[in-house]
Point group: C2
């Protein structure tokens, strides 16, 4: 057995014990873990500095450096996050449904953990703690393969977690770090189908692509979002201004931020001049279609490529459409079924939009920014799934489970 | 665009129209399809004869030949199956759950079709009709890639289906056959991630392996089952005899048939002699552990490989175990989490068994043969999924759907 195979095998062993642990034991361990993160705050920062110094040497700056850095506040937030997860309802052992068959068989569909979850991620060492807590709560063991840039921080955090877990009666090898950070290690991890039940990549497009193309284990994609807001001719204009500003400006770097605004031609003459001024005041660049350019001086011409770009930045593409159907066609052509919003008071328009758009979340008179586990009431999330199988949209604790059928009888045989 | 890319693209286009079709239209089309299969019975048999003649030339006989052959009865059964699917509840548009958030957002999680399902299958041309009906009912378009041995039958059936569907207002390209039957066609199909949402392989292990190793599209495995029945020391012996005979003999060639029998040592002296005689009378070969051999003359010695073999035949491996825990360990080591049964009257033993065993279905005092869509009340099934993501156990109409969130508000923005 190779190192990675051994790691995956041991995680599978641990997962069997984890699957039958009581919520009480798991929650106690999560509180122990939160306490340990706080107690070891200084040590975490010392180790984190090794990664930060390496980053400086490699000329890593700006947002990437920030993501790598563990401050007092970030460590406290990590611990708070873990305590919040401890408060959530246990997702295991829930009877999803149950019924009696005509022959007297009692059928129950009951939630169980997935088993072992493999996470391939980049830079942010706080992911290590978030993921460990979510996995324990959902009864899963986890194999974490972070990037080389954060390896020291990741290993330190995992060491603290494992110590706290062991003291609370959680099996060894519940949280496992792949220490080798080269590409070969990822490739090997993606082939451990015998032991790992699911791979979740978190990071850049290229990372996700590598996982999809090489994994024999099912992958749950957490991709980016090219999200649209459509302003219908029957929109309440005040709501429209608020929502466009919120969806674009409040946090432009995230996957549920708006990237393209579609405006019905009947309201464009009123809407475009005002929104473009508001966006300009928030330092947002506008790339508009020809019709948009005719209504504002604040825009530059949009290229074909703008319709398919997820800027993750203070840039917004704007297109004026003839009607709802053109908006729907545009979203189908350029969108990637993440989050789409319609602003309208027309019942007919809303019904058509919500049935024709098959995005993971469709928003009616509210912001695309609500496509989020906390905001939709799941309490915590592993990320936003952008695929159709198993989990769609926010992947909370429930989505980290599978199920089995328990069928009870008194001697029934098949005829 | 290549031929296969074009096919997949057109299927995606069709799936968009399909997703908003009413149950009424879909059900009418299914009845038209059933009628058309009956009306064209003679034509189907004539075309099927081309495939059968080819099979004879290739010296294909026995079960494989039988699977390929379409008789009057088989065609009538196909039509009946389609009519039954028409009677089932429509799985689309169901609100799985809904709630109000504190900020007034109304959240609904609603079922929608997966989109386009790709099926890679072998020999049995009746699968073409089953799958087409299940896909239409669940609002999905389908791309079917059958084997070369059944290509003429498959294409004829698809032609009849498409004609019936078109006459009923179903979009063109709902049912699509890949006409090229070489390996390259499968490889290309498995890369159409832009248009196909899910691949379901149905056939031999090698076929499933090819799909898992080469697909960039999520795969739902329908593998074999190495199913166990465990006779506890507190078992009702009459129930135990009945269930072992049913699980092994009633249809030994299927995935939910029993392959290994585990017997508690305290009841072995009573149980083994009688069951081995009963099995012998049904022409079932027994491969036993040393302790089993001491209790019957009807068995030959089991090899290590027997514990991991899915015979799909009238062969049963028998092992005497010291206790429940040894039975559980054996199942964990050799089983593949398909279907496992315990025969016992002990509440404690049953509770332990059902929590420790994470098979897709755990059976208590009833036969493993009930792991089946019809038997568990789903009305019809695509197959038995042997993986943990999305669908586990019988994959019925509900498991052929995904969901989206519909979030309604009156101007809510994220804080």
């Amino acid at each position: 057995m190779t190192e990675i195979e051994k790691l995956a095998y041991k995680a599978k062993e641990a997962s069997r014990e984890l699957s039958v642990l009581s919520a009480e034991i798991k929650n106690r361990a999560l509180h122990e873990m939160a306490d340990a993160l706080i107690t070891n705050k200084e040590e975490i920062k010392i180790i984190n500095k090794i990664d930060l110094d390496k980053a400086k040497k490699n000329a890593i700056t700006g947002a990437m450096f920030k993501r790598l850095e563990l401050t007092d506040i970030k460590i406290e937030q990590m611990a708070d996050g873990v305590r919040q997860i401890a408060q959530l309802a246990d997702p295991i052992g829930e009877t999803i449904y149950g019924y009696l068959r005509p022959n007297g068989l009692d059928v129950k569909k009951v939630t169980i953990p997935l088993g072992v979850i493999g996470i391939v991620y980049e830079s942010r060492p706080n992911v290590t703690a978030d993921v460990a807590a979510l996995c324990l709560k959902s009864g899963n063991a986890v194999v974490l393969r972070g990037g080389s840039e954060a390896i020291n921080s990741n290993m330190k955090i995992a060491e603290i977690i494992n110590k706290a877990f062991c003291a609370s009666g959680i099996p060894e090898n519940t949280v496992n770090i792949v220490k080798t950070t080269d590409r070969e290690a990822v490739m090997e991890l993606l082939k451990q189908k015998a032991y790992i039940d699911c791979i979740i990549p978190r990071g850049r497009k290229t990372l996700i692509k590598t996982c999809i193309e090489n994994s024999t284990i099912p992958v749950i994609e957490h991709g980016d979002g090219n999200c649209h807001v459509y302003i219908d001719k029957d929109a309440d204009m005040n709501i429209a201004y608020d929502i466009v500003m919120n969806a674009k400006i409040q946090n432009p770097s995230v996957c549920n931020a708006c990237e393209t605004l579609l405006v019905h031609k009947d309201v464009a003459f009123e809407f475009i001049p005002k929104i473009s001024t508001m966006l300009k005041e928030s330092n947002c660049e506008i790339r508009g279609c020809t019709k948009t350019l005719a209504l504002t001086n604040n825009a530059i011409p949009a290229q074909e490529s703008d319709w398919e770009t997820e800027y993750n930045d203070l840039i917004l593409a704007i297109k004026i459409v003839d009607d709802l159907e053109e908006a729907i066609s545009h979203i189908k052509e350029y969108g990637n079924t993440h989050s789409e919003a319609i602003i309208s008071n027309s019942f007919t328009a809303i019904e058509r939009f919500k049935s024709a758009i098959d995005s993971s979340a469709v928003f009616i008179n509210c912001s695309t920014r609500f496509n989020d586990g906390y905001e939709l009431g799941m309490g915590a999330e592993m990320g936003i799934s952008t695929q159709k199988l198993h989990a769609r949209g926010p992947m909370g604790l429930k989505e980290m489970t599978t199920y089995k059928y328990i069928v009870s009888g008194n001697g029934q045989c098949r005829k």
